[in-house]
C-alpha cells in the first residue's frame, strides 16, 4: 500500500484526538480548533506542521508550568498522539490506557488502539499489537476495518497459528486492495499448512485478476510466483508453468518466474525448452539469485541434452562469475563493517523530521547499495534505521543546545552584573524616598483635616488667592483711617464688610465640598502610600530573593551541561549499538549471499569434475 496512507492516517488520529472534546463542527474538521490557552495554540502550530519534536517539547514545558488549564485532557491526548507519531509507542500507550477508558468517543478510542496495534506490529511487539486490537470494541471505518483484519491475520500467521488465520481470512468478502493482500496472505498460510489445493484457489484467483495499479500488478506477479513454485514443489509442472507464465516479463518477479518456467519444462524432460527462459536469465543482473541459479541450471540442462562440452564451458563461466561476484560482496562487507555506510545513509538525509512516519526508500548511491535493496523491505532494517535516525536527530539537537548553554552563562552573568550595578542606585533612591516620613506626614494631614472639620474652620480650606483676599480685607478693616467717623469711612467700612461677608459666605458654602475633596485626595494619597509600601516590600523581597534566584539559576545552568554531555555520551553508545545491529543484519544478508555463491561454486566444480570424469572415461574407453 502507498506509504502516504499510514502517514496521513497517523496524523489524522492526532487530529481526531485533538478534536474529541471540541464542538461537533470542529470534530468534523470544518472549523479550526478553539484555543483558550496561548501555549496550547503554540503546540498546535507545530503539531499541524507535523513538527512533533518541538510540539512535544513545548507541550511538556507548558504543562510543567500549568499553562494548559483550559485544555488539560485534550492536551494529554494530543501528547499521546504525538508520542505515537514520534515513535514513542510505550509513552503513547501509557497515556491512552489512562485516558482512553471512558472520556473519549468510542470511534476515536477504537481508531487509536488500531494505530497503536499497527505501530506495535511494525516494531515486532506482537503480543501488545494483538492486545491493542482486542481493545477495539466497535466498528472501525471501512478502510481501517479491512486493515485491522489484515493486521490480525498477519499476527496469527506470524505466531504460527495458520488455521486461525485461515478461518479469519477465508471469510474475507472484500473486493479492495486489502482483500487482495488478504487473499495472498491466506494463500501463503494455506501453503504453509500444506493445503496446496486450497492455496491454489486463493492464489490462482489473485494471479488471474486484472490489476488497476502497479501495486496490484506486482501482487499478482507475487501470487503467480508463489503458486507456481507451490505446484513445482507438489510435482505438478504443467500448472506450474501455466501459472508462472502469467508473470510479467519485465518486473521484479520476472527472473524468478523465468527460472521456475525453466524448471517446469525440465521436470517434464523438456530440457531444450527449459533452456529458453534460462538463457534469457543469463543476460540479466547476476545480483539476482534467480540469475545465479540459472547459471547452474543451464549447464545442467545442456548435460542432460548430452552437450557435455558446452555444459563444461557454462560451468567454468559460472565459477568465474561467482568468484567475481563473491569478491564484490567481500568488498561490500568490508565497507559496511567499517561503519561508515550507515553514517552515509544518515548524512544523506535532511533530518527535517523524525519518528514513525519516516521511511528510507532508497539507499545512497554506491556499489554496496545494490546488495542491500532486499533489506529495505524488512521491518527489522527499516525500524532499526528509524531508531538510528532518531538518535542522530537527538544527538544533533543536543549539540545545538550545547552551543547555546555557553550563551546561558553569559546571559546570567549579564543579568547578575546589571543587578549589582543597579542595586546601590535603587537602595539610594529607596533611602531618599523616606516612605515612613511620607506616611507620618499623611497622618498629620489627616489630623489637621479632622481638626478643621471639627472646628468648621472654613478659612483653613481657602485657596492661596482667597486667603490673600481675606488678608487684604482684614488688614483694611484694621486701617485706622477707616475708623474715622466720617461718611466716606463708613461707606468704605460697609463695602469691606460686604466683601468680607461675601468671601466668608463663599468659603462656608464650599467648606463641605472642599473638605470632601481634600479628604478624597488624602485617601488617594493613603492608597498610593499603601501601594508604595507594598511595592517597597516587593522590591525588598526582590532584592533579597534575587541573589538566591541567581544562585539557583547558576546551579541549573551549571548542571545542564553535564546532563547534556552525559546524554550525548549515552546517545553515542546507543547509536553504536544501533549501527552494530544494522551492520549485523546487513552483513548476515551479504554473508548469506556469499554462502549461496560458495555453495553454487562447489556444485559447479563437482559437476565440472563429473563431466571431466565422464570425458576421461569416454576417452579411455575409446579406440
Amino acid at each position: 500500500m502507498p506509504n502516504a496512507r499510514p502517514m496521513f492516517a497517523m496524523f489524522g488520529i492526532g487530529c481526531a484526538l485533538l478534536s474529541m472534546s471540541a464542538p461537533p463542527h470542529a470534530a468534523a474538521g470544518e472549523r479550526p480548533t478553539v484555543v483558550k490557552d496561548a501555549l496550547y495554540g503554540e503546540v498546535l502550530f507545530y503539531f499541524y506542521q507535523e513538527d512533533f519534536f518541538p510540539a512535544i517539547v513545548r507541550l511538556l514545558a507548558a504543562r510543567s508550568q500549568s499553562k494548559l488549564d483550559h485544555h488539560r485532557d485534550e492536551s494529554e491526548l494530543l501528547l499521546g498522539g504525538m508520542y505515537l507519531s514520534y515513535g514513542q509507542h510505550r509513552e503513547a500507550a501509557a497515556i491512552f490506557e489512562r485516558l482512553l477508558a471512558d472520556n473519549v468517543q468510542p470511534e476515536i478510542r477504537d481508531r487509536t488502539w488500531f494505530f497503536l496495534a499497527r505501530i506495535w506490529k511494525q516494531r515486532g511487539y506482537l503480543r501488545q499489537s494483538a492486545g491493542a486490537l482486542d481493545r477495539i470494541e466497535g466498528e472501525l471505518p471501512e478502510n481501517l476495518r479491512r486493515e485491522a483484519l489484515m493486521l490480525r491475520a498477519q499476527l496469527l500467521i506470524d505466531s504460527g497459528d495458520y488455521d486461525a488465520a485461515i478461518d479469519l481470512l477465508d471469510n474475507w468478502k472484500g473486493k479492495t486492495e486489502w482483500a487482495s493482500y488478504a487473499k495472498f496472505n491466506l494463500g501463503v498460510a494455506l501453503v504453509r499448512s500444506g493445503r496446496v489445493d486450497a492455496a491454489a484457489r486463493m492464489l490462482g484467483e489473485l494471479g488471474g485478476m486484472k490489476p488497476f495499479n502497479d501495486e496490484l500488478a506486482s501482487l499478482r506477479d507475487k501470487a503467480n510466483v508463489a503458486l507456481g513454485y507451490a505446484y513445482l514443489q507438489n510435482g505438478r509442472p504443467v500448472p506450474a508453468k501455466r501459472t508462472l507464465q502469467r508473470v510479467r516479463l519485465e518486473g521484479p518477479f520476472s527472473n524468478k518466474a523465468l527460472l521456475g518456467v525453466g524448471w517446469a519444462d525440465a521436470e517434464t524432460g523438456a530440457f531444450d525448452r527449459a533452456l529458453v527462459p534460462w538463457m534469457e536469465l543469463r543476460r540479466r543482473d547476476l545480483l539476482d539469485s534467480a540469475v545465479q541459479e540459472s547459471m547452474l541450471a543451464i549447464p545442467y540442462a545442456l548435460a542432460s541434452l548430452d552437450s557435455i562440452s558446452q555444459a563444461a564451458d557454462h560451468y567454468l563461466h559460472a565459477i568465474e562469475a561467482f568468484h567475481e561476484e563473491s569478491g564484490r560482496l567481500d568488498r561490500t562487507i568490508d565497507h559496511i563493517a567499517s561503519g561508515s555506510f550507515f553514517n552515509e545513509i544518515i548524512a544523506d538525509d535532511p533530518l527535517d523530521s523524525t519518528g514513525w512516519y519516516w521511511r528510507m526508500d532508497r539507499l545512497p548511491d554506491g556499489p554496496q547499495s545494490r546488495y542491500l535493496l532486499h533489506l529495505l523491505s524488512t521491518h527489522a532494517f527499516q525500524e532499526g534505521l528509524k531508531n538510528l535516525r532518531d538518535l542522530h536527530y537527538s544527538h544533533r539537537n543536543l549539540e545545538n543546545w550545547q552551543r547555546r548553554v555557553d550563551v546561558f552563562h553569559s546571559m546570567l552573568e549579564t543579568r547578575i552584573e546589571a543587578f549589582e550595578h543597579r542595586l546601590p542606585r535603587v537602595q539610594n533612591a529607596l533611602r531618599r524616598a523616606d516612605l515612613d516620613g511620607m506616611v507620618d506626614r499623611k497622618l498629620e494631614f489627616d489630623a489637621v483635616l479632622n481638626d478643621i472639620e471639627r472646628s468648621r474652620d472654613w478659612l483653613a480650606l481657602a485657596t492661596a488667592a482667597e486667603l490673600g483676599t481675606w488678608g487684604e480685607i482684614t488688614s483694611l478693616e484694621s486701617t485706622p483711617a477707616l475708623a474715622a467717623d466720617i461718611p466716606e469711612a463708613a461707606d468704605i467700612r460697609a463695602k469691606v464688610a460686604l466683601l468680607k461677608g461675601v468671601l466668608q459666605w463663599q468659603l462656608e458654602k464650599e467648606f463641605k465640598e472642599r473638605a470632601w475633596r481634600i479628604r478624597r485626595e488624602l485617601r488617594r494619597t493613603g492608597e498610593a502610600l499603601v501601594e508604595m509600601q507594598r511595592a517597597r516590600r516587593k522590591i525588598d523581597e526582590s532584592m533579597r530573593r534575587q541573589p538566591v534566584e541567581f544562585a539557583e539559576l547558576s546551579q541549573r545552568v551549571a548542571a545542564v551541561l553535564p546532563r547534556i554531555e552525559a546524554m550525548q555520551s549515552r546517545l553515542e553508545d546507543q547509536m553504536a549499538m544501533q549501527r552494530s545491529y544494522l551492520r549485523s543484519i546487513a552483513i548476515d544478508e551479504l554473508d548469506a549471499q556469499k554462502e549461496r555463491l560458495a555453495a553454487y561454486t562447489v556444485q559447479a566444480r563437482f559437476a565440472l569434475a563429473a563431466i571431466y570424469d565422464i570425458a576421461a572415461t569416454v576417452g579411455e574407453a575409446g579406440p
Partner: protein, 199 residues
C-alpha cells in the same frame, strides 16, 4: 505493501528450498536461491526481533529523556532570556482567513522594529487550523508602551494588502501575553486585525 514482503512470497518460497530434481547430472535445487533469500528475510524478521526489541526499549527510554531534557532547557532558556516580571509574548492567530492570505508580520515596540516574520504556506495552514505562532518575546519595563503590528499579504481579489494595528500596552509586574488576531469581517468582506491581551 509490507505484509507481502515480510512473510508472504518469501516465506512461501522457503517451503521449496529442499526440493531437487534428480537427473543424470546434479541439478541445483529448484528455487534454492529464492529460498535462501526468504530464509534470510525470515531470520531477519524473527531472529533479530528480540535484539531489536531490547534495543528499541533502550532507544525509547533515551528519546523520552532527551525530550525531558529539551523541556528543561527550553524553560531555563526562557527564564534566563525573559524573566517573568518583564516578559511579554506576542502571538499571531488567524480566524478563517478567507479575505486575507498572510505573508508577514512586523512588530514595532516604542518606535523600534523588533520582529519581522515571513510565513511559509505550511505555517499559514497551521495558523488557519487553529495553531498560534509566538512571533516575538520581549522584556518590557513596567509602564505604558506602544505596539505597532503591520500585517502584509494578499487581501480580497488577491490584491497586495498591508495593514497596521496599534495598541498601547500597559505592562505591569508579571508576564503578559498579547494576541495579534487576523479575523474576517464578513459584513465588509475585509480582513480585520485586532490586538488584545490574552486572558
Amino acid at each position: 505493501m509490507n505484509f507481502a514482503n515480510n512473510s508472504g512470497l518469501l516465506a512461501a518460497l522457503l517451503l521449496f528450498a529442499s526440493t531437487a530434481i534428480l537427473a543424470q547430472n546434479t541439478p541445483p535445487a529448484i528455487g534454492a536461491a529464492t529460498a535462501a533469500e526468504s530464509s534470510m528475510a525470515a531470520l531477519i524478521e524473527s531472529g533479530s526481533r528480540d535484539t531489536f526489541r531490547a534495543l528499541d526499549a533502550d532507544v525509547q527510554t533515551l528519546k523520552k529523556e532527551v525530550l525531558d531534557l529539551n523541556r528543561d532547557l527550553f524553560l531555563l532558556e526562557e527564564e534566563l532570556l525573559f524573566p517573568a516580571n518583564s516578559q511579554v509574548a506576542f502571538f499571531v492567530s488567524m480566524d478563517v482567513g478567507e479575505y486575507f492570505k498572510l505573508d508577514s508580520v512586523s512588530l514595532t515596540i516604542d518606535g523600534k522594529e523588533v520582529a519581522n516574520y515571513l510565513y511559509t504556506d505550511r505555517e499559514v495552514d497551521a495558523l488557519l487550523r487553529g495553531g498560534v505562532h509566538r512571533v516575538h518575546m520581549a522584556n518590557l519595563k513596567t509602564g505604558e508602551h506602544e505596539l505597532i503590528a503591520v500585517f502584509t499579504g494578499q487581501g480580497p481579489h488577491a490584491r497586495d494588502y498591508r495593514r497596521g494595528a496599534t495598541v498601547k500596552i500597559d505592562k505591569g509586574i508579571g508576564a503578559k501575553y498579547l494576541e495579534l488576531e487576523i479575523n474576517d469581517r464578513v459584513s465588509k468582506q475585509q480582513p480585520e486585525f485586532e490586538i488584545r491581551e490574552w486572558e
